[in-house]
């Protein structure tokens, strides 16, 4: 099979009627119907993409949806607790990461504290928002230290609720009081705004449930 181009041996076998013409093109005018058809099909395609294409969003994977499905799985309690575990850093400097405070330095504990574990979180939320000063008895020891700082301007409702939920529900510290919701914090924040940020004292908290 190694015929060389340079050896112009005429076609190997008898090659009579070799005058083969190549295909040619007939005269013809263009027509518009492919574009009409294209338009119709294209319209259908747009409808289809509009209905199934997830509005061209990168976070929609389900045919026929226009917005991503809500993230389900984690209850509000779990979300608050997890967030609270992070935000607790704000308190850990004084009350210690283990919640035991440091009695030697006059910092009261949060673990097992009767201020924390009340059935209603109303007192704790107030202490967190505007702080507490003067003598305060925790687990039989009286502390008196004006160092506690107010968090009214520092933490939002969700963060306060989260920390309170984390501290009250922290099983490792032996605490098992109920969840605190952001709405509760909001109500108290608004209800106590008129006090002008004055710190609480044991006496002023007495009437609070």
């Amino acid at each position: 099979m190694s015929q060389k181009k340079s050896k112009p041996k005429p076609a190997p076998a008898p090659a009579p009627a070799r005058v083969e013409s190549e295909p040619t093109i007939a005269a013809g005018s263009s027509s518009a119907w492919p574009f009409v058809l294209l338009g119709v099909v294209l319209f259908g395609c747009f409808l289809y993409v509009e209905n199934t294409g997830g509005a061209f969003r990168a976070d929609i994977y389900q045919t026929g949806m226009k917005t991503p499905p809500p993230v389900i799985g984690e209850s509000i309690e779990v979300q608050l607790y997890k967030e609270g575990a992070k935000q607790y850093a704000a308190c850990a400097g004084c009350h210690q990461p283990n919640g035991l405070g440091s009695p030697a330095l006059n910092f009261p504990p949060l673990a097992g504290s009767e201020w924390v574990l009340r059935e209603k979180p109303d007192r704790m939320i107030r202490i967190m928002l505007d702080a507490i000063e003067g003598p305060v008895s925790v687990k039989g020891t009286v502390y008196d230290n004006p160092a506690m700082v107010p968090f009214r301007e520092v933490l939002n409702d969700f963060q306060v609720a989260a920390i309170a939920t984390f501290v009250r529900g922290n099983a490792e510290w032996g605490n098992k009081a109920g969840v605190v919701l952001p709405e509760q914090v909001k109500a108290i924040r608004e209800g106590t705004a008129s006090r002008g940020g004055a710190k609480w004292r044991t006496e002023s908290l007495d009437p609070v449930p």
Binding site: M1, S2, Q3, K5, P8, K9, P10, A11, P12, A13, P14, A15, R18, V19, E20, S21, E22, P23, T24, I25, A26, G28, S29, S30, S31, P34, F35, L37, L38, V41, L42, G44, C45, F46, Y48, V49, T52, G53, G54, A55, F56, R57, A58, D59, I60, Y61, Q62, T63, G64, M65
Partner: protein, 471 residues
């Protein structure tokens, strides 16, 4: 040549004779054709073995080299790169030389590049069987095979394009548009896909999108395009009429390039919903160019179809390939979505386009080209073998297409209906359809073998004629 042509051609005083043109084609085109069809035999045999494992799970058990996960990609890649693309190069070279009235540039270099292409495909198939597959659909060849593959392609394409540039017939006939588009499209998609997947290592979901994009472009634009080029060359030739309605052809060409590349991703899962949506729409939209391309062929042949069918083996192949092109396009448009996701129905699209639309058109073209380049006659030496090749090819293709489609629809019903039992309905229930597939691959291998035998007869006769049997 000039005697029958008007003044526009005589201006190119250098236009070479058909004999000269064909002499330059002989070595590369015959080599690529023969080895391409040989890959069809091998690929069909591998696919046959793989298909048996779908319903006889213990078949060839125990040897990792021949598990389904290696056999099937080895088969598909052998068929795509060894058979389809290789034959596409042969046809492209021949069409450029004939329609451009120009001898091929550097036939020896083309032959060598073709040789290297074959070595690369061999290494690639071996690598897949050895367990080195990359895992991306239609890009399974490991890097040590795909790089040489690309290099040999670059040589073939470069010389083909130089030849096209030197053509003496300046008007480009329709077939050459598709050849040119295919020759340029293929390196673009191959280098982009391999660069992103093997070089850039794009993350998870993007890999599926890139591989899907490549596979669809290869099938829908490159291989379909080469098939259309062949159809547009041989149909007018077989019926002896000029091509009707060229304006429509032009519309079809541009629309195919425009919308063809968007399909093929409609069955991806775990990607943002707009990707399958747009892709599914493109699958439907591509019907327009396909119809626009088939109507001129129909108009050209209308009235002479039965005569041409009887007279020309090549025309028979063309008619079936055109029919399959319409069929596979409609099939993908209607069933290409969610319903058949994760089923053999989707996998069968590759087989139908590679082996049917392109494969049958190519076999038909080779039945015309090979005798002209060897014995110089109009037909291959044995009519019987040509008929065998045709009928085995048709039935094999239909069996593979129908078998996989039925099996896939069966699986889809199981997926869609929780009350159906997976093993009973989805595995044992489709075994019959899969046996049809096995039969089909066998018939396709037979069709290829019949052609190769005819090819060998022609070469022997040619050698006897020109060398007096000395060699």
């Amino acid at each position: 040549m000039t005697s029958t042509q008007p003044a526009s051609q005589t201006a190119c005083a250098t236009a070479p004779s058909v004999v000269e043109v064909e002499a330059s084609c002989r070595l590369p085109v015959l080599f690529l054709s023969f080895s391409g069809v040989a890959w069809l035999v091998l690929g069909a045999a591998l696919a046959l073995l793989a298909s048996v494992q779908l319903y006889v799970p213990t078949f060839l058990e125990g040897c990792p080299w021949v598990t389904y996960g290696r056999l099937r990609p080895a088969a598909i890649n052998a068929l795509t790169y060894g058979f389809a693309l290789q034959i596409a190069f042969a046809l492209a070279l021949w069409l450029i030389a004939r329609l451009g009235r120009v001898p091929l540039t550097n036939p020896l270099g083309l032959f060598m590049a073709g040789k290297f292409w074959n070595i690369a495909v061999t290494v690639g198939v071996y690598g897949v069987l050895a367990g080195d597959a990359s895992g991306y659909d239609l890009l399974e060849f490991p890097l040590y095979a795909s790089l040489p593959l690309f290099a040999s392609y670059a040589c073939i394409a470069a010389w083909a394009l130089v030849t096209l540039h030197q053509r003496t017939e300046r008007d480009m006939y329709v077939s050459l548009w598709f050849v040119l588009a295919g020759l340029l499209w293929f390196p673009w998609i191959l280098s982009t896909a391999q660069g992103l997947l093997l070089g850039w290592h794009v993350p998870g979901v993007v890999q599926a999108v890139v591989a899907g994009w490549f596979g669809n472009n290869l099938l829908q634009i490159v291989l379909t395009g080469f098939a259309v080029a062949v159809l547009y060359y041989f149909v007018p030739k077989a019926v002896g009429r000029p091509l009707a309605n060229p304006a429509l052809t032009q519309v079809g060409f541009w629309l195919l390039l425009l919308v063809g590349g968007w399909g093929g991703l409609s069955q991806l899962s775990a990607v943002p919903a707009w990707i399958p949506a747009v892709s599914g729409a493109a699958n439907v939209l591509v019907i327009v160019p396909v119809i626009a391309l088939l109507i001129p062929l129909w108009q050209t042949a209308d009235g002479s179809i039965s005569d041409a069918w009887k007279a020309s083996a090549t025309f028979r192949f063309m008619a079936v390939a055109a029919f399959l092109l319409l069929g596979v396009t409609v099939r993908t448009a209607i069933f290409g979505g969610h319903f058949t996701q994760f089923t053999l129905f989707a996998a069968a699209r590759t087989d139908i386009i590679v082996l049917g639309v392109f494969g049958l058109a190519a076999l038909g073209a080779l039945h015309y080209i090979v005798p002209r380049l060897t014995t110089g006659e109009d037909n291959l030496p044995s009519d019987g073998l040509a008929d065998l090749s045709f009928w085995a090819g048709i039935f094999g293709m239909l069996a593979v297409g129908i078998g996989f489609s039925l099996a896939g629809l069966g699986q889809a019903k199981v997926n869609a209906d929780a009350t159906k039992d997976f093993l009973v309905n989805g595995v044992s229930g489709i075994a019959g359809a899969l046996q049809l597939v096995t039969f089909g691959y066998g018939a396709l291998a037979l069709a290829a073998l019949a052609f190769l035998a005819n090819f060998a007869l022609a070469v022997r006769r040619c050698c006897a004629a020109c060398c007096g049997g000395a060699r």
